[in-house]
Amino acid sequence: MIISEPKSRADLDRSLEGAGRIFLVGCGACATACRSGGEEQVFETQEWLLETGRQVTGSVVIDEACHIPRAGRDLRLHRSGVEEADALLVLACGAGVQSISASTDKRVVGGLNSLFLGNIRRIGSYEEKCLLCGDCILNETAGICPVTTCGKGLLNGPCGGMEEGRCEVDREQDCAWHLIYERLRRQNRQGVFGRLVPPKQWSRRRKPGRHRLGKDRDGDVAPR
């Protein structure tokens, strides 16, 4: 899930400068689960907009704001509210904001900061475990990602800053490499310690990103 948090009201106020009529968009997926852009937050934001003397011309919570055709369709269903507005305020992750901005020439203001691809501990408590690097070595690291959870993203073992299994960058955190080492040992495997891992192929993290499932990176059809 994409973890997001609301921008500050002061930030939003500045971004909405000159826009008196606002159409509000929420997202029914990640932003709802993060309590940053669901029905409830859309309602709260509407209250706040009214307090600041603005008008709200309408609102919609899109099932998955990142779904480009769905976002376009839902906006068309609310055409009048959208057309009356000076700006659309979107409570969704950066992907959601961009589905919306691709569907209208109106000014689009993002209301959230997207933080990371998150694992959920419980609502409100999230952990970043995957960086979407596109060159996964989890199978050799006992299912613990060093690219994400090592402070330096090292691939061949801990840095000199590891101490008693703690991370140099944050002593409250476990050293990813210590966790990897311990878990591999319990599995009686050498894993990533058995070879020199070459430099990461950052080219696999395609930028600009566009991806078609069913084709692997070399253009061959991947087995399904």
Binding site: N156, C159, H178, Y181, L196, P199
Partner: protein, 284 residues
Amino acid sequence: MSRLADSLRTGDFVVTAEVAPPKGADPGRELDLAAAQTGVTAINVTDNQGANMRMSGMALAGLMVRRGVEPVLQLTCRDRNRIALQSDLLGAAALGVENLLLLSGDHARFGDHPDARPVFDLDSVQLLQAVRQLNAGSDMAGRPLSSAPRFFTGAAVAPATRPLELVYQKVVKKAEAGARFFQSQAVFDSDAVADFMTLVRPLGVPVILGVLLLKSASMARFLNRCIPGVRVPERLVELLDRAADPLAEGVAIARDMVGVAREHCQGVHLMLLGREDLMRQILF
């Protein structure tokens, strides 16, 4: 061949020291300091140590070569991607730098530019391999160089860090990746040195032991609190606390560690933090 490579090859006990580039555009003081340190085999030039921005170590190392002082250029993965690292390495070779100490580097958040984007495109193992490839005449992409450098490459080890078995895994990788010598983090515990050397000796890579001059008990406490991989035993902290002359006590501790190095290792890397005048006292 560099003097350091030659000395390590013939089994001499080597002494290395350290100089940090200035935070400014005039390296005069640092060059004088380096040139004044007679009796050392080579002098490490640090690379934005502790993630604090300073003059390029490559520039200072090049100027040291001109003054007849042999540098060990430290190079970290923190600030450069693989293109910049290789490019700087070719530049260093052109300036006459032969010895390298290849490091991951302290995280940027500890330095004076905590908002900087730390790079870590490579890790220290991969950087060692990259240098080996440059030495062999091609870049990391496999493209030929018009002329190859001839670097003598070292890596860092931290003998006092625990768990030691995990540290050892990385040490093995560094040896496999082409580390021809190790320089260690400062160690104050002779047992830790002995244990470490028992593990590492079979790899056949000479170890130069890090010896740091403790100037006071508060400095020792600071190291324990803030410097990863450095552990001053409580016994020594108390000794410094009680000493009438803490600096003299620190010199005595450093002398002891030099003795440990003479017994187990192939050299010492002295970190005297401005008290280079005490070097002879510590060594002999």
